[in-house]
């Protein structure tokens, strides 16, 4: 089968590496000696929200965890190990939880909640995706979306989801420990929304030890 798309990426990587070396000959050898990013980005896997491109960041700037619908579940070792490593080992100063407009995961939860309301008794199939989204589906079911158009409802889900994930992050052990210890490095937790139609990030909420 054709491996055109992956060959394009490999070719682009080669050109990029050469252009970086032309600008800064020791960029890679320096970068290989260690990392000290100031920011951990927890965002959505959506291809339209590549954190380093939309913030014009370079390798070494942002520690990253991306998943479906930018979740932070307190019982998820994948996200929890990233947060623990970022805060305790790498020493990031900011954790940014980034959602985005027109999120497919949020839309799927809206639909699942509507289906559940229409078909009482019918249960969701038990798959990794339905399990992954079940906290968000439950959250959607708790919202009052009466009188909202479809797009207003989706925006409300996107934004309240961001706040909910920020709340989860603030309850996590790495953050509660950092905030309880006045000698710990300062770490701030932010909730951001990326507007796909404008290409712009807006801050919804910001929490630190004083909050």
């Amino acid at each position: 089968m054709s491996h055109e798309s992956t060959q394009i990426l490999l070719n682009a990587n080669e050109e990029w590496a050469q252009s970086v070396i032309k600008d800064i000959p020791d960029f890679f050898t320096q970068s290989a000696t260690g990392q000290s990013p100031k920011v951990l980005w927890i965002g959505c896997s959506d291809s339209r929200v590549p954190e380093s491109v939309i913030t014009a960041s370079k390798p070494g700037d942002i520690f990253v965890h991306r998943n479906i619908a930018n979740q932070f579940h307190l019982n998820d070792d994948s996200a929890l190990s990233v947060l623990t490593y970022a805060v305790k080992v790498v020493g990031v100063e900011h954790v940014v939880l980034v959602g985005h407009t027109n999120c497919g995961g949020a839309a799927a939860c809206l639909k699942a909640a509507e289906d559940a309301a229409a078909n009482t008794g019918a249960s969701q199939p038990d798959t990794p995706l339905t399990r992954w989204l079940s906290p968000l589906i439950a959250h959607v079911q708790s919202l009052d979306l009466s009188g909202c158009s479809t797009s207003e409802a989706l925006n409300k889900v996107v934004e309240t989801n961001i706040i909910m994930q920020v709340d989860n992050i603030c309850k996590s052990e790495p953050i509660t420990t950092a905030w309880a210890n006045p000698n710990s490095k300062k770490v701030t937790v932010h909730g951001w929304v990326y507007d796909l139609s404008r290409g712009r990030i807006d801050e919804l909420v910001c929490r630190d030890a004083q909050a």
Binding site: P59, D77, H94
Partner: protein, 231 residues
């Protein structure tokens, strides 16, 4: 591949450097810096293509590639492949793992397959501190601390290390061997996952690649590729 990628490939890095200079002058904190850099980036895109964002919002692109990589800040998927928004569906975690029991990674993979991607690329990188930690833990025969999320997460990797013969290898040779074995193992895990097994049983032509990104040279190398088994 997004047609806008070409004009931005070489501009991207120069743009990063000029923004970095202006950010340091304003003495913003790192998070404020990102928001400001995003604003400048968005304005530059709109200058070249006023409809870029509106178009990608109303006509979502269909990425062909899912990237499963490490959370390490030095390996940002879209930067090191000079890709634009819309090109690569992305999932990153500590030491680029794909655990069969992990709902996080499995949900990303199943979404990507249903969005009809053609390729899954599992990308490890050289000098991974967490791979190094797994080697140290395996050598110390230390059981994972159940209260440490990083050690719990790295348990399968530590188990993999114990199956490898690292005798006679110096530290960097051992790290290199384990890095490659880790990539191969995660590719195997992906190929054995329900989304891929089902996709191949349905005749879907999706390939799974194992890539190694060399931090010291900035180059990606393909180690392995697995495709739809021939009937």
């Amino acid at each position: 591949m997004n047609a806008l990628a070409t004009p931005y490939k070489n501009h991207h890095f120069t743009l990063c450097l000029s923004l970095l200079h202006s950010m340091s002058q304003l003495q913003l904190n790192a998070a404020e810096g990102l928001i400001n850099a995003n604003e400048e980036w968005a304005q530059r895109i709109i200058k070249v293509n006023p409809n870029f964002f509106k178009d990608s919002d109303t006509h979502p692109p269909k990425p062909k590639v899912l990237w499963i990589g490490c959370s390490d800040s030095r390996a940002p998927a879209s930067v090191i492949t000079a890709s634009m928004p819309g090109d690569i569906f992305t999932h990153t975690n500590i030491a680029n793992q794909f655990h069969s029991f992990d709902d996080n990674a499995n949900s990303v993979l199943s979404c990507a397959i249903s969005e009809e991607i053609d390729h899954v690329v599992l990308v490890g990188h050289s000098i991974c501190e967490c791979v190094q930690e797994a080697i140290v833990n395996a050598a110390a025969a230390k059981p994972a601390d159940p209260n440490n999320p990083i050690e719990r997460w790295l348990t399968p990797l530590s188990e993999l290390v114990r199956t490898l013969d690292l005798s006679g290898l110096d530290e960097s040779e051992a790290l290199d061997l384990v890095t490659k074995a880790n990539i191969n193992k995660q590719v195997e895990n992906i190929c054995n996952s329900e989304p891929i097994v089902t996709a191949w049983a349905d005749g879907k032509r999706v390939s799974v690649h194992g890539w190694l990104y060399d931090l010291a040279t900035g180059r990606i190398r393909e180690l392995v590729v697995r495709s739809l088994p021939r009937p």
